[in-house]
Amino acid sequence: MTALTIDRINKRYGNLHILKDISIPIGQGEFVSLLGPSGCGKTTTLRCIAGFERPDTGRILFGERDVTRALPEQRDIGMVFQSYALFPHMTVAENLSFGLEVRKVAPADRQRRIADVLAMVRLEGYDKRYPRELSGGQQQRVALARALVIEPSVLLLDEPLANLDATLRDEMRFFIRDLQQRVGITSIYVTHDQAEAMVMSDKIVVMNAGTISQFGSPREIYERPASQSVAGFIGRSNTISGKIAEALGQDGYKVETPCGSIGATGPAGLSKGAEVKIMIRPENISTRSQAASGHQQGAGAEEAGSGENVLAGSVVNSVYQGSANQLAVKLGSGDRVIVDVNGRNPLEVGEQVALRFAARDTWLLAS
Amino acid sequence: QSSLVVPTYGGLWAKFWEENLLPGLTSATGIQPQLDVGLGKDFVAKIRAGGDRSPYSIFMGNENIAAVLRAEGFFEPFDLAKVPNAAKTFPQFINKDAKGIRAIVSPIGLAYRTDLVKTAPTSWHDLWENPEFKGKTGLYQIGNTGAVLFLRLVAELFGSGPDDFDTAFTKIKELLPFTQASWSGEVATALIRGDAIIAPVDWTEIMTLQDKGAPVAIVAPKEGVLAFEQSFNLVATGAEKDAAHAYLNYILDAKVQQDMAKAFYTSPSNSESVVDDALKARTPIVGPRMAEIKSYDWDSYVDKAAEIADRWNREMA
């Protein structure tokens, strides 16, 4: 049974069709992330779930209960607003206390829970401050704490960590996930950080321009994206265009490309001759200087039967990124491929390289 | 070139001054006056504030108000030689030593609702004696000259004389509860609405109402009538004393007094003014009957005014 069902909702602002037939089923205690480009309708979806906007059509169910027309306060939700929406006339402690008072939590208990959650968001000692006396990130953490401290049955988080540094983000992520799992809170998390979504979510919804592009587990979405736009949006990806040369049973295919024949994995049922794009994630490509590898320039393709593909190319750009250098490699076919190499072993621009990747690390997308 | 400022009241008065009186004054005397419309009491404030440079050279206001400024030394006597029409004025309206002339007179009688009153009043005593009027009487409040006039009348009727205020207070309290109005228009309104069915009001007010078809009438009680007397005074600190005399003289002119009576039902103060019968039927207090008007001396009242106002406030509630 789903704990929260979003059933074909539509929402317009005047002429603008903002949400188009959005349906999301969410199980009890599941953590679902909403991912999508800025302006695609994530916040609007959350506001419909919270009850701040009424969908023009469609229903929202909490369990069996149709809440489409229920008041926000009847939904037992907690929400972190993208704009924080802290109460400016209340101290931090009062902001946190608010939801607990509504729930008639005893004062002593309230004190304790506020102290606990403040410690979690690393704001011990800030309880007497007013929101205007806090930095941006501190305000954001108060907003987060305010939604969490009430331990609602549904948690709606709208980019709750956007203004935090990596260390805090890590801690907060852990803290959110821990509480959510411990209490069994069904959560919807809007983030622009895919890595975050990957780490935290049971399911991910990828949205685009008011529609749902894909709904699935992080692994499904990352490894088997439904479309090139999903692939492009979630993590970095490279694509090489080609045509199905042969279906190898199961989900294996041989693909004919300008760089030669490549062994690839893809959804079942692609027919011979179909135009496809081979997607490969940068981290699945290993790179060697051509000189070292002994391969010839321009050669390359599948090493017969091994499931390993080798392509030749030349480095056209290299960016230092701390943990890694990101290289742009131009293939013989003209396709540009992004790969990572260890930051300590940079390859020079202009150098010839061999790129190696396994067939099972690829995924075929319909063109 | 004279720059005489002529103070007067609004409404019908202002209209008359503008359209009739001032053009006449100019053609009669060559004076080009400036009209200043006010309430009477604001003239007092300005003369006081003006100190040795009063904006007015001549003052117009109820005699009891004029008495205040006179006591404070702001006025000086007229030179009656410069006011030939004073000789034709009923002498009761010329103060002793020409310290002020009450040039415009609106008698006050007992007005009542013809449709709501069965027995028309004939005497001031009817206010106390006719049970129809109990609780339905309208009076002026103490800020209005009408109230102090009535107070002195009652003192005279029931007590030892117009200064027997104790008796007056006792008697007037017997009329409670009564509606109190700040000015004649308010009394008239109370009559129209029926909140009061009898009240002492000036003829001017009641005649105007009658003109509009209201069921009201006014009588002159047998004991005599009261009157709003517009007292003209020469302001000592004014700059246009000659023009002031000329203006007063023009006001007292028989024709002018006659026109005023037509315009707003005052009683001409000039003994030579002619009032036609139609008008006389409506405003009977003219000519020889002017003697029925009870005029009081206000110069001595000035010292008691504050105390009496206070007492009225406390007791008439």
Binding site: - | G11, G50, T189, T208
Partner: protein, 271 residues
């Protein structure tokens, strides 16, 4: 308390609330409707019951030059008071809210003091003062100053309260874009506090238009404001001409607001 939030069902409380608000609107409108009715009454008196429909009081109004003159004089005085106060009241409110450090409370006290004393006393005080400093009452400067003084606190108070709600980071943004104090004020602060200024100006205008005692004592010789003229008129002619004046001002305001609404949109005024 409830209200029209999008996305929620109308409850019984919403409906009760609507009824309550409607009742308050009726209370607000009732005497006004009465006045309008009276102005079209053919009867002679400013009183009920109504006798018939007539435009005679409007004719009477338009043929009365004193009323028209007084109306113009009142508009002129009220408009001048409003404009002067809009400028100096707004500046003072900003200064007190933002910059005053020393004596802030004393400055605020004096800014609101004209509200706290009876108007008639202020009128007498000014009357004396004007004669002392030889301004007198020969010209309109006295009454004008009086009106400005008495209506000043309305603008000051309303702008002060608008400044409370204003997010100052917008001003900082403007300055970061190179805008000087004046440009920042005109393009950013002013639009934000406009509701307060408009409300303050509205009050200032209406109050100035209605003031009696200040006008009575300070008016220049020979001129009259509308309330004075009306009062004088009603003392002697208790007829519906006064109601006709009131109706006229209602109609003109209706027209003005509707025109603003249809042209620039009322929202842009943001009362």
């Amino acid at each position: 308390m409830t209200g029209a939030t999008s996305g929620v069902e109308k409850t019984i409380w919403d409906r009760l609330f609507t009824v309550l608000v409607a009742a308050i609107y009726i209370f607000l409108m009732f005497p006004i409707v009465l006045v309008v009715l009276l102005s079209f009454n053919s009867g002679e008196f400013l009183a009920f019951p109504l006798e018939g429909f007539s435009l005679r009081w409007f004719e009477a109004l338009f043929s009365n030059k004193r009323f028209l003159d007084a109306t113009l004089y009142s508009i002129q005085i009220a408009a001048t008071s409003t404009i002067v106060n809009a400028v100096i009241g707004t500046l003072a409110a900003i200064y007190v809210a933002r910059h005053a450090t020393v004596a802030r409370d004393y400055i605020r006290l004096i800014m609101t003091a004209p509200l706290l004393v009876p108007e008639i006393l202020t009128a007498i005080a000014l009357l004396f003062y004007f004669y002392e400093i030889r301004i007198g009452t020969d010209y309109s400067i006295g009454i004008q100053i009086g009106h400005i003084v008495v209506t000043f606190p309305y603008v000051f108070l309303n702008v002060s309260s608008a400044l409370f709600n204003f997010d100052r980071s917008q001003e900082e943004a403007a300055r970061s874009l190179g805008a000087g104090g004046w440009m920042t004020f005109r393009r950013v602060t002013l639009p934000a506090i406009k509701p307060g200024i408009i409300t303050g100006c509205l009050f200032a205008f209406v109050i100035s238009f209605d003031i009696f005692n200040i006008s009575l004592l300070l008016k220049s010789l020979g001129s009259n404001t509308l309330p004075l003229e009306l009062f004088d008129y009603l003392r002697f002619n208790f007829d519906p001409t006064a109601a006709a004046i009131a109706s006229l001002s209602i109609f003109m305001t209706f027209a003005a607001i509707l025109i603003i609404d249809r042209t620039v949109g009322l929202r842009s005024l943001r009362f």
